[in-house]
C-alpha cells in the first residue's frame, strides 16, 4: 500500500498541522505520525472538501468524541495516489474533490485560452476580410438581393422620375439585353430625369441611366461601354460586397439588438454613397470588355467617353462630373482598357442606332418637382 504525505490538524496540534503519512487499508484510512500510528478512520465517515488559499488542497475531515480532525493533502501527485487506492465508499467523493481542485488549477488557462483564440479569430477575420465579405455576398439569396434593389429603387423614385418607356429606355434595354444574354438576373432598365452625367446598377439587376448621361454620350457604342461595365457590378455582386464591407459592424450590432429595420436603413443609406474599390472596378472593366466582345459590340466606347469627359472636366474646372467621381479615369486605367481591347477577338459591328433621336427623346423628361 503506498503512503502519501499530508498534514494532520486537530484540537491538540499546532494550527499549521503536523506532518502525517496517509494510506488506505481496506475500508480504513490509516493516519501515521512520526511517533507511530495515530488513528484508523473508517472511510465512510470521511468528509471530503477542497481548501487552501489556491483551492488546491484536498481535506478529509472526521469527527471523534466531539472533536474534529482533518488531514490536508496539497500535493497533486499525492492526491492522485490517494484517489487511485481509495475504497469504493469514498472514491466518488474523492474524485469529485480532485476534479474541483483540477478545475481551479486549470480554469485560468481556459479563460486565457478562450481570450487568445478570440483574438486570433478576430485577427484572421481582419486578415481575410475580403474573402469573408465575398463569401457572405455570394450567400445572399437572390430574392433578398432583389428586395434590397427594389427598396433602393423605391427610395430613388421619391426623388427622381424613372421611366421604362420612350425611345431612350428602349435603346438601353436593347443594348442591355445583348450584353446580359444568359444571365441569371432578370434585368430592368430605367431612364432617370437626373441631369448628372451618371449611370449605376442596383443589386438584383436594376440599371439606371441618367438623362444627363444620354446627353453627354456621343454614340450608342459609348453607352454600351458604360452599360457593360455597370452590369458587371450586378453580375459579380460588387454592390453587396461593398455594403457588407462597410455596413458590417453596424449591421451586426443592429441585428444583435434585434432591429432589422435599422439594417435596411443602413443599407439604403449606403447605396447612395457607394464607391467600389479599385479592385472591383478593375474586375468590372475587364469583364465588361469581355461582355462587349461576346455581344459583338465595338470595344472602344468606354475609353473614348472617359477621354472626352476628362477633357471637358479639365476645361470646365470646378464641379466634377459624377461618373468620373465614382469611376476615376486614370491614365493607367485607360491604358489597361486599350490594351485589353487589343487582345480580345471581336466580330464587332456598329450598333446602327440613330443617336441624335435618342438624345432628343430624353429632352422631354422633366425633372421631378421637389415637394
Amino acid at each position: 500500500m503506498s503512503e502519501v504525505a499530508g498534514l494532520l490538524h486537530g484540537p491538540n496540534f499546532p494550527v499549521a498541522g503536523v506532518p502525517a503519512r496517509l494510506a488506505f487499508h481496506g475500508e480504513h484510512l490509516r493516519v501515521t505520525l512520526e511517533g507511530g500510528a495515530f488513528e484508523d478512520v473508517p472511510a465512510e465517515s470521511l468528509e471530503v472538501t477542497v481548501t487552501g488559499f489556491d483551492d488546491d488542497t484536498l481535506q478529509l475531515a472526521w469527527g471523534t468524541h466531539g472533536h474534529t480532525h482533518a488531514v490536508t493533502i496539497a500535493d497533486s501527485g499525492a492526491q492522485r495516489v490517494l484517489l487511485d487506492h481509495a475504497p469504493a465508499s469514498i472514491a466518488k467523493q474523492l474524485a469529485r474533490g480532485h476534479s474541483t481542485v483540477h478545475w481551479h488549477r486549470r480554469k485560468w488557462k481556459v479563460v486565457i485560452g478562450v481570450l487568445a483564440s478570440l483574438a486570433l479569430l478576430a485577427l484572421v477575420a481582419w486578415w481575410q476580410s475580403e474573402a469573408i465579405t465575398m463569401w457572405a455576398a455570394n450567400h445572399v439569396p437572390l430574392e433578398t438581393e432583389i428586395s434590397i434593389g427594389d427598396g433602393a429603387l423605391a427610395q430613388l423614385k421619391t426623388k427622381h422620375q424613372l421611366t421604362q418607356e420612350g425611345l431612350a429606355a428602349a435603346t438601353v434595354a436593347d443594348i442591355g439585353a445583348r450584353l446580359t444574354a444568359g444571365s441569371r438576373y432578370q434585368y430592368r432598365w430605367y431612364i432617370s430625369d437626373d441631369r448628372e452625367v451618371n449611370a449605376f446598377a442596383l443589386p438584383g439587376g436594376i440599371v439606371v441611366v441618367n438623362a444627363g448621361m444620354i446627353e453627354a454620350v456621343s454614340s450608342a457604342e459609348e453607352l454600351a461601354g458604360v452599360l457593360a461595365h455597370e452590369v458587371q457590378h450586378v453580375e459579380y455582386r460588387h454592390t453587396l460586397q461593398q455594403m457588407i464591407h462597410t455596413a458590417g459592424w453596424a449591421a451586426v450590432l443592429a441585428v444583435v439588438l434585434g432591429d432589422v429595420s435599422a439594417v435596411t436603413t443602413i443599407v439604403l443609406h449606403q447605396l447612395g454613397n457607394l464607391r467600389n474599390s479599385r479592385k472591383l472596378e478593375a474586375q468590372a472593366d475587364v469583364e465588361g470588355m469581355k461582355a462587349l466582345a461576346r455581344a459583338d459590340i465595338p470595344l472602344g466606347g468606354l475609353v473614348s467617353l472617359f477621354k472626352r469627359l476628362e477633357d471637358q472636366q479639365r476645361r470646365r474646372g470646378g464641379e466634377g462630373i459624377a461618373l468620373l467621381l465614382s469611376h476615376p479615369a486614370t491614365e493607367e486605367r485607360i491604358a489597361e482598357l486599350e490594351q485589353l481591347a487589343g487582345t480580345l477577338r471581336c466580330g464587332c459591328r456598329p450598333l446602327g442606332v440613330d443617336w441624335p433621336a435618342v438624345q432628343a427623346s430624353v429632352k422631354q423628361l422633366q425633372p421631378k418637382v421637389e415637394k
Partner: protein
C-alpha cells in the same frame, strides 16, 4: 535560528532587532529608522539574495506588483559584536512577527504588508484565482506570498487580531480587513444574503469568508477606510460613486427578479 527583537510603540510602531555577528536582514527601502554604525546597508534588486540577474529581475517585478519596492535593502552586521537595526511602520497600525517555519514555510499577506525579515525570504505573488474573491473580496487579485525560512515582520493598519481556525471552521470577515492568512486557509467571498442588509446595513454586498484549518490575522482599520474617514471630513461626499453603487444595486435586484421568474 530565532531572532532577538522587540516591537515598540502602541499604535505607531517600530521594531528593533539585534543582528548577531555575520547576520543580515532585509527590509523595504525607506523602512529603516536607525541602525548602529557598524551595520552596512546595500541595495539589491529583488529579494536581496545571490541568484542570477534574470531571477532577480523577475523577483523585483513580482515585488513591485505586490505593492513593494523593486529593490530591497540588505542590512549586514560585519563586526564582531551584536548590532541593532530598526524598521518603522509606514502608517498607524501594528507590526507582528511571524515565524515562517511555524506556519508551514509560507504566509499570504495583503499587498504592501511586508516590512522586513530574515535575508533569504522571498516576496512572491499570490494570485487569487477565484474571480468573485478577487473582485469583491477587498484584497484584489494580487496578494503577497512570503516564503522561506525565518522571521518576517508584517505591518497592518489598526489593531491586529490573530484568530486560529480549526479544520472546517468558518469566519465572516468584512472585506478589506484580511491582513494575512496561512496558505491552508481557504478564502472566498459570500453574498450578504439580504438586499436590505447590503443596502442599509453598511457591510456592502459581499463579505469575505475564511475557512480553517489555519490562522488568519485581521486588521481593525483598513487604510481605505481610514482614508475615507479623513477625506470625508475634509470635503462633502461625492455623489457619483454613491449613484454608481445605487445603479449596481438596482441592476442586481433586476437580475435577481429575472432569475427567479419561472
Amino acid at each position: 535560528m530565532s531572532w532577538q527583537y522587540r516591537i515598540e510603540g502602541s499604535d505607531l510602531q517600530y521594531v528593533e532587532l539585534t543582528l548577531a555577528p555575520g547576520d543580515s536582514a532585509i527590509g523595504e527601502p525607506g523602512a529603516m529608522m536607525y541602525a548602529d554604525d557598524g551595520v552596512s546597508i546595500a541595495t539589491h534588486m529583488g529579494d536581496g539574495d545571490d541568484s542570477s540577474l534574470g531571477s532577480r529581475l523577475s523577483a523585483g517585478f513580482k515585488r513591485s506588483l505586490t505593492g513593494e519596492n523593486f529593490f530591497s535593502s540588505v542590512f549586514t552586521n560585519s563586526t564582531q559584536q551584536p548590532l541593532r537595526v530598526s524598521f518603522a511602520a509606514p502608517s498607524p497600525g501594528k507590526i507582528i512577527a511571524v515565524d515562517l517555519d511555524s506556519v508551514g514555510g509560507a504566509l499570504i499577506c495583503q499587498k504592501g504588508a511586508f516590512l522586513g525579515g530574515t535575508r533569504g525570504i522571498r516576496v512572491g505573488l499570490a494570485f487569487k484565482k477565484r474571480l468573485r474573491a478577487g473582485m469583491f473580496g477587498g484584497e484584489g487579485f494580487i496578494m503577497q506570498r512570503l516564503s522561506g525560512s525565518g522571521t518576517v515582520f508584517i505591518h497592518a493598519s489598526g489593531t491586529l487580531a490573530a484568530i486560529e481556525l480549526r479544520a472546517g471552521e468558518q469566519l465572516k470577515v468584512d472585506t478589506g480587513c484580511l491582513a494575512a492568512l496561512q496558505t491552508t486557509v481557504n478564502y472566498d467571498v459570500k453574498y450578504v444574503g439580504s438586499l436590505k442588509t447590503s443596502m442599509v446595513g453598511g457591510e456592502g454586498l459581499f463579505l469575505a469568508s475564511v475557512k480553517g484549518p489555519g490562522t488568519v490575522w485581521l486588521q481593525s482599520l483598513p487604510l481605505q477606510r481610514l482614508r475615507a474617514a479623513i477625506t470625508g471630513m475634509s470635503q462633502s461626499r461625492a455623489l457619483a460613486p454613491r449613484l454608481l453603487y445605487l445603479g449596481v444595486v438596482i441592476f442586481i435586484v433586476i437580475a435577481t427578479l429575472i432569475g427567479k421568474r419561472p
